[in-house]
Every structure is written in structure tokens, then in C-alpha cells.
């Protein structure tokens, strides 16, 4: 086994990897930028190496410096985490060339799954369904023929497009001609190209993904699904395992699992990876893309299967065989994860970096917290504002939701805005509780939610606290001292210290 592993990442995922390395008796080497000198991953690691200035391009994305650090500290392997260089085939290849083990798939597999068309081809090679469509420009006649084959609704998209320009949903043949004309002319204006292609429109799709895990000897299993339909700006914010849909239709797990394994094997894949699917309202699933790395939301899979994915990633990278067969994998209970961000959910999810002045964390039965923050730490503005991943496990989904709500209630972060209160509203929502999830959920939630009024009795308490805090800052001599002591509070404080 490796004696030392370098983690080419930061934040909660670096801390997560350090924890498993420590449990395996492997030395953990952190890297850091200027902004991260006092970040938890640096403090927790056995060794640490400075990479460069705060911008990622000058630090966490510098392949040369990361490999220099690996050499200097004697790292035998590199764990890339997620984000940054984790899906960069060039980085994986550079590790291979440098004789440092890249903890992940081969650079060839990353490349094979890296492009949308390559991934689609591998999925189709493996027999996994993809969203029907054409990648090239068509005529309105061809669009009509496509719809006759695949049924309405369909989606017309600009070949040169992006950002919704030149895009039209078509729900019946009578609308097709006009929609095609509008889309083409909008595309012409926006992109100077009127070329239009067509895709089957999946309405209110669910995002359900399959965790796969394979060794370097061609053995591969799946560890079931995660549902990640609760998204804002295409970013997952709540994930769960099992998917409430799959839990109700258990044949889906095997079908999707097998499709995922076939797609991954078609790309010569090994180590941990995730195959993402869209699922339509008739429970048909379509290959979306493959993430060739550990997923942010991997804890929910760990909670229901009892495996340590990071440990297995490292063992597989070291040449171990898969320690279990598909039949030995069992799922227990239900797990939900909330991504705690430094952001203001009621102000367009704007990031809220700053100094954390107060921090109480949830604990107790069924709670797992993967974080990277501490009281006094300043959330840097240069990186993703993910503070922690809060996961709750319980025997049933209802109990896991209740447990998550309990934990969110225990979670208190002061000094910055977070989305903790927003999750409490989502998890209280009837549609969420009923498991009726889809990727447009949050948008609809904002449309239907009633502004939450604070319980009436709380205003008196808030007023009392504000008044006492105001008075505690006053002293006859002038401004309050830095501890906020005042004659009003001194007696009580002494009593407390007795």
C-alpha cells in the first residue's frame, strides 16, 4: 500500500480524503494556495505544500506544481477529489508519466468519457439509452419525421447555440412549422447560423445517477442510485439514496445499474465513477453523462451500502481487486444529503463569503457531517462556497427527512448567510415529502411557497435579546470593550463562571 498520498484539492473533499488516508495509516499531503493557509485541510494533513496565489489557475490547476509537490514530499499517489483537475485527462496522463499513481480511471477512459459525443457513443456501445436526437442540422421535414418516430414533445435547438437562444419546445405537429421558423431566425440573429437540431423533450425529468466501481481487472459493480433532482442553476443541492422513484419501482435499479456498468466498461473504465441519467415521467431513463471521479454526493451511497468509497478508490488504485461481488452489495435504510453553501437562497443564491463568527454543528444518531469550516475561519471568495455536506441516515425516507430537519435545526452558522433555513423549507414541502421530484422543483417551489412568518411569540424574544445586547455594549466610559462586558451583564457572567 502507498505510504503517502497527495490530495490535489481543497475544502471538504480534501478533508474527507485525509480522514480515510489516516484510517488506512497512509500519510496525507495537502496542497494550498494563499487563501488556504489556515484552511482545515492544511491543518489536518500530515504534510503541506504551498502551490501559489489564490486563483485556481495559479494553484490548484497547476499540474506542474502539484507534481513537484508530490515529488518533494515523496507521494506515491494523488487523489484528485472532485472539480479542479479531477476530470482532466492531461493531468491523469502527467501523473502516469511521472510514475505517480492517479487515484481514478486511466487518462484514456477520462478522455473517452470526457466529450459529450464520446460519452454518448460509449453509452450506446454499452446499450444504454440516450436521449433521442440528432447532433447535426436538419430541415423542418426531418424534424417532423423525428417527432413521428419519437413522439411529441420535442425540443428544437440551435446547432451553434447556447443560453436558450434558438430553442423551442414543440408539443404538437400543428405548432412545428412556426416553431421551426422562429427558432431558425432567432438562431440566425444570435449566432449567424440558422442550423437547428432536434431532441426528444423530457418534461420534468428526474436526475438519477448510478455509482459504479471497478477494478483494473475488468470487474465492475454498481452501488445503486442517487437521486439528485433538487437543483438550482443545474447545481445539485439535495441528494438522496435510494431514489424515491426507484424505491417504488425496484426493477429500475438493476436496469439502470447494468446500463451504467456496460457504458463504463465500453470506455475501459475502472475505479469509482458515476453515470448520470435523466428519467422521464414514464420511468424511461436516458444516459446523460459520466463523471469520471468521486462525486460530491458520494456519502449517501456510503450510508446506505456501508462501503467507504474513498478507501476502495485507494485500494483499487493500488491494484486491489474488488472485495465484493454485485450480489454481496446490500442497501439499508435511506440517506439524504444537503449541501450547505455560503449563499443567500432568498437573494438569487448569491454567494456570501465572509468570516464565520459562530458555529454550532448538528450531531447525534444518524448524522454525518463532512465539512471544512471552523469558527473564526474566513470563507475565501475564490472557490466554490460549499461549507459542508450534512447527511442524515434513518431506516425510512420519512425518518431520514425528520432527522435532517432536526439536524438543520441544530445547525447554527453566524457571520455569513447560508442555505440552512432554505433546506428546512424544502424538506417541509409536501411535494418533496411525497417524493415528487424533478429538476425544475426549486423553481416551482419558489413560485408556490408562502413567505414563512416567524412564530408570533418569537418577536418578543428577539426584542429582548436585541435590547440586552444593545445595553451590554454600553459602558459609562464609552464604547463597549471587545468582550461586550457591561455592568448589566457582569453579575450574571460571574454567576455563570462559578
Amino acid at each position: 500500500m502507498f505510504r503517502k498520498v497527495l490530495i490535489a484539492n481543497r475544502g471538504e473533499i480534501a478533508v474527507r480524503v485525509i480522514r480515510t488516508l489516516r484510517e488506512m495509516g497512509i500519510g496525507a499531503i495537502a496542497v494550498y494556495s494563499d487563501a488556504d493557509r489556515t484552511s482545515l485541510h492544511v491543518r489536518m494533513a500530515d504534510e503541506a505544500e504551498y502551490l501559489g496565489p489564490s486563483p485556481s489557475a495559479e494553484s490548484y490547476l497547476r499540474i506542474d506544481r502539484i507534481l513537484d509537490a508530490a515529488r518533494k514530499h515523496g507521494a506515491e499517489a494523488i487523489h484528485p477529489g472532485y472539480g479542479f483537475l479531477s476530470e482532466n485527462a492531461e493531468f491523469a496522463a502527467a501523473c502516469e508519466d511521472a510514475g505517480v499513481v492517479f487515484i481514478g480511471p486511466s487518462s484514456a477512459s477520462i478522455r473517452a468519457m470526457g466529450s459529450k459525443t464520446g460519452a454518448r457513443r460509449n453509452a450506446q456501445l454499452g446499450g444504454a439509452p440516450v436521449v433521442p436526437g440528432t447532433d447535426h442540422g436538419i430541415t423542418s421535414e426531418e424534424a417532423r419525421a423525428f417527432a413521428q418516430t419519437h413522439g411529441y414533445p420535442i425540443l428544437l435547438k440551435a446547432v451553434a447555440g447556447g443560453g436558450g437562444k434558438g430553442m423551442r419546445a414543440v408539443r404538437s405537429e400543428t405548432d412545428l412549422e412556426a416553431a421551426f421558423r422562429d427558432a431558425a431566425s432567432e438562431a440566425e440573429r444570435a449566432f449567424r447560423s440558422s442550423e437547428i437540431y432536434v431532441e426528444k423533450l423530457i418534461e420534468q425529468p428526474r436526475h438519477i445517477e448510478i455509482q459504479v466501481l471497478g477494478d483494473q481487472y475488468g470487474n465492475m459493480v454498481h452501488l445503486g442510485e442517487r437521486e439528485c433532482s433538487i437543483q438550482r442553476r443545474h447545481q445539485k443541492v439535495v441528494e438522496e439514496a435510494p431514489s424515491p422513484l426507484v424505491a417504488a419501482h425496484s426493477e429500475m435499479r438493476q436496469a439502470m445499474g447494468e446500463a451504467a456498468i456496460r457504458a463504463a466498461l465500453a470506455a475501459g473504465y475502472y475505479n469509482a465513477g458515476t453515470v448520470e441519467f435523466l428519467v422521464d415521467q414514464d420511468r424511461r431513463f436516458y444516459f446523460l453523462e459520466m463523471n469520471t471521479r468521486l462525486q460530491v454526493e458520494h456519502p449517501v451511497t456510503e450510508l446506505v451500502t456501508g462501503v467507504d468509497l474513498v478507501r476502495l478508490q485507494i485500494e483499487i488504485a493500488d491494484g486491489a481487486r474488488l472485495p465484493f461481488s454485485q450480489e454481496e452489495i446490500a442497501w439499508r435504510g435511506s440517506a439524504i444529503e444537503c449541501r450547505i453553501y455560503a449563499e443567500d437562497p432568498y437573494n438569487d443564491f448569491l454567494p456570501s463569503p465572509g468570516t464565520i463568527v459562530r458555529l454550532d454543528r448538528p450531531m447525534g444518531p444518524g448524522i454525518r457531517l463532512d465539512g471544512c469550516v471552523y469558527a473564526g475561519w474566513t470563507v475565501p471568495l475564490e472557490y466554490d462556497p460549499l461549507l459542508a455536506k450534512l447527511a442524515a441516515w434513518a431506516g425510512t425516507r420519512d425518518q431520514a427527512i425528520a432527522r435532517m430537519l432536526r439536524a438543520l435545526g441544530e445547525y447554527d452558522v453566524g457571520g455569513i448567510r447560508t442555505n440552512i433555513g432554505f433546506f428546512r423549507q424544502i424538506l417541509e414541502d409536501e411535494e418533496f415529502r411525497a417524493g415528487r421530484l424533478h429538476t425544475g422543483f426549486i423553481e416551482q417551489f419558489f413560485a408556490r411557497r408562502k413567505p414563512a412568518a416567524a412564530p408570533s411569540g418569537l418577536a418578543a424574544i428577539a426584542a429582548l435579546v436585541a435590547a440586552l445586547d444593545h445595553l451590554s455594549q454600553e459602558t459609562p466610559q464609552g464604547p463597549a470593550d471587545r468582550n461586550g462586558t457591561s455592568p448589566w451583564l457582569a453579575a450574571g457572567r460571574e454567576a455563570m463562571l462559578r
Binding site: 456570501s352 459562530r358 462556497p385 453566524g414 428577539a462 426584542a463 445595553l471 451583564l489 450574571g492
Partner: protein
């Protein structure tokens, strides 16, 4: 002593009759009691009418933020005894500085010196974590200074403009 409060926009009055830990206060015309302790910095533990509350307090430039069981109260306190002394403070009239809420890069400046702005009007756009944040005027007034320039990197708390 009596204090005038603005709680999430509503005007209220509270009178503190006895301080912590065995607090007496008047609220909505009735005298009430509460056991008040400070178990952690910035945290008040309140027992009131048999119920237990843990309240977090933060002091911000605009006043106090009190968080109780996920409910957020933005509160400004005015102390009538001190009205004359504090009249020039930032809770009442006078100059209002507009500080960067987060570190980032100024990508747009929408005001100039001499402009009249309405409360809530967008005045500056700052970018951080690849997200753009439009800063709004905290109240109506006249712009007396603009320190921000487009392209400038600003630190959290840095004064970007001043409104009179």
C-alpha cells in the same frame, strides 16, 4: 429603560426593568420575566414562560441580526436617553457608507457623485465566485462619493460609495 426597536421593518418598544440573569421587561404593555444567560459568545439562552430559546446575535453595520430557531430578525435599536448623543450615528440620519458585502471585483459602477438614488436602487455590481452581485442603496439619498472603479478588486468591508 425604554428602547425603540425596528424589527424586520416594524416599529416596537421594549422596556428593560431588570437586567440578566433574572430579567424583567415590558413588552406590548405587559410586564414579563425571563431567565437570560450567555452560554457562548454571541449566544443568548432565554427561558420565558416555560419555553427555552437559544438566540444567536450578530452585530452588523446596519444593526443587529438575531437568529432564533432558523428565524432571522434584523433589528435596529434606538435608545431615547441617548438620542441627542447618538443623533449623528449611522442608525439615524447623516452619511451612509456603502461597503462591499463580500470581497470581489467591481464589474460595474452605476452611479456618479451628485446622483440621487432611491432606496433599493442598484448602484454597483461586484463579482465573486463567478457570481455577480448587484449592491443596492440601503436608503434614498444623494451620492457624495464613489470610491469604486470598474475592474478594481475590493476587500470585504471596503467602502465603495457614500450616500448623504
Amino acid at each position: 429603560m425604554k428602547l425603540q426597536l425596528t424589527i424586520n421593518g416594524a416599529e416596537e418598544e421594549i422596556e428593560i426593568l431588570a437586567p440578566h440573569p433574572n430579567c424583567r421587561f415590558r413588552w406590548n404593555g405587559t410586564e414579563q420575566e425571563a431567565s437570560v444567560e450567555l452560554p457562548e459568545p454571541g449566544v443568548y439562552s432565554i427561558l420565558h414562560e416555560g419555553r427555552s430559546y437559544d438566540a444567536g446575535v450578530e452585530r452588523t453595520a446596519r444593526g443587529l441580526v438575531v437568529l432564533i430557531d432558523g428565524n432571522r430578525f434584523e433589528i435596529t435599536v434606538r435608545d431615547p436617553r441617548r438620542w441627542s448623543r447618538h443623533a449623528a450615528g449611522h442608525a439615524g440620519s447623516g452619511l451612509e457608507t456603502l461597503s462591499a458585502l463580500m470581497p470581489g471585483k467591481v464589474v460595474r459602477v452605476l452611479i456618479s457623485v451628485g446622483d440621487t438614488v432611491a432606496a433599493g436602487q442598484g448602484v454597483l455590481v461586484v463579482e465573486a465566485m463567478k457570481m455577480q452581485n448587484e449592491m443596492k442603496a440601503p436608503r434614498a439619498g444623494r451620492v457624495v462619493a464613489v470610491h469604486a472603479r470598474e475592474g478594481m478588486t475590493v476587500a470585504a468591508g471596503e467602502v465603495l460609495a457614500t450616500i448623504e
